[in-house]
């Protein structure tokens, strides 16, 4: 079974979604990511979904879940590079992902992670 690779950059984890995200894959990613965060004691997670051009409500929820889980494990999660069509779909589905931090691209996302934390 294929899985989405998680790269480690210092204390940040970088996830690049480059295939069509199906439900199994998303669940597996959540699993792998939480394990990885605790293992390497990551402080930030960057999820690049710029290659994702289709979402449904389940994937939308998984993105929110990943961010929420990362937050509980004391890592900041930033979703970067969301396509316009994906953003419109999520909003139309009523999922504006209020707890998720977003950035335009990986550059901006890294900048966001480097900023000092509020708490």
């Amino acid at each position: 079974m294929d899985r989405i690779p998680i790269l480690r950059l210092g204390d940040t984890l970088l996830v690049t979604v480059q295939v069509d995200m199906h439900d199994q894959l998303a669940v597996r990613l959540l699993d792998d990511l939480t394990t990885m965060i605790t293992k390497v004691r990551a402080r930030g997670v960057l999820i690049d979904i710029s290659a994702l051009d289709m979402v449904d409500s389940f994937i939308g929820r998984m993105i929110a879940d990943i961010a929420a889980t990362a937050r509980i494990l004391d890592a900041r999660a930033v979703v970067v590079g969301m396509q316009p069509a994906v953003a419109i779909t999520l909003v139309e589905l009523g999922m504006s992902l209020p707890g998720v931090q977003t950035a335009l691209d990986v550059d901006h996302g890294m900048e966001l992670l480097r900023e000092p934390r509020d708490s």
Binding site: M82, A87, I88, V91, S96
Partner: protein, 289 residues
């Protein structure tokens, strides 16, 4: 039936030249000033001639009951072309339909001449059948005329939509979109897509949505604005709404629309200043010597 059709075809063919001349004269003399100025004599003559020959060919098929038969297809296509071009030239529906209806007078005159002293009842039947046919064809031209007009209106509407959604780059990383006119669902969709596309294309972290030109805001419009703001945020950019006029601010509060979490500014200038500050630019007057 066949004999009577034969006689009609005979009339159409034998006195074609005379028929054509009479018809063109009637078309010219009927009080339609536009026909005279817009359509030249040779053009009108050619149109009439083509119609007569197509009409004769269709009658020869023997099907006089309905114009939906295959034999009438060339006639209908020709009339559709004439009707469309006239619709575009600004003719009224009655002016367009007159093209067909005016054919009755010369046709019936010539038919009566051909029947002179013969079977009156058959002449009446022929005229009745032809009249029904020409009425149908006339109505058909009106329909096509209407369609052509509607097409024009729809195209203009689309053009207006395209014209009215410009995305302007105010600064490196700052986009602005002034919206003019009422925001309905279809338009919001276009506005939203155009803005988001540009945010990606220019990698601008801040977008300003200026609604100075939006005359009224109802709950639906507010909902659309909120959606746009949410979608922009999902993409990692920030959306500022500016140009909210006092009345609109009052309406929004009266409607109980929650705009919390959305940055709003009274004017585009204020929004621009805020955007520059957010990007770390500092504004200040230089001391003049």
């Amino acid at each position: 039936m066949t004999t009577s059709t034969n006689r009609i075809i005979h009339v159409l063919q034998s006195s074609q030249v005379q028929l054509l001349a009479d018809w063109v004269k009637i078309l010219r003399s009927s009080a339609l000033p536009r026909t005279a100025t817009v359509i030249s004599d040779p053009e009108l003559q050619a149109q009439c001639q083509e119609f007569i020959s197509l009409f004769a060919a269709a009658i020869a098929s023997g099907n006089l009951d309905t114009i939906e038969a295959d034999a009438w297809k060339p006639v209908l296509e020709f009339l559709a072309g004439v009707s469309r071009s006239r619709g575009r030239q600004g003719f009224s529906p009655s002016e367009t339909a007159t093209f067909v209806f005016s054919f009755k007078e010369p046709l019936f005159t010539h038919l009566r001449r051909a029947f002179e002293g013969k079977d009156e009842a058959e002449l009446f039947m022929n005229i009745w059948e032809l009249s029904k046919l020409l009425d149908k064809l006339g109505l058909y031209t009106t329909e096509i005329h209407q369609q052509a007009r509607e097409e024009i209106i729809r195209r203009q509407g689309e053009e207006m939509l395209e014209l009215s959604t410009p995305v302007i780059q105010l600064w490196d990383g700052i986009l602005a979109m002034p919206i003019i006119g009422t925001l309905d669902s279809a338009r919001t969709q276009i506005v939203m897509e155009a803005l988001l596309q540009q945010v990606v294309a220019t990698r601008s972290p801040i977008a300003i949505l200026d609604i100075t030109g939006v005359p009224t805001v109802d709950t639906l419009t507010a909902q659309h604005l909120l959606k746009t703001v949410a979608a922009t945020r999902l993409m990692g950019a920030e959306c500022i709404i500016s140009g909210i006029r006092p009345q609109i601010a009052q309406t929004i509060v009266h409607l109980g629309v929650e705009l919390t979490g959305v940055v709003t500014k009274a004017s585009l200038a204020d929004a621009f200043r805020l955007a520059l500050e957010k990007l770390g630019h500092r504004l200040g007057a230089t001391a003049r010597s």
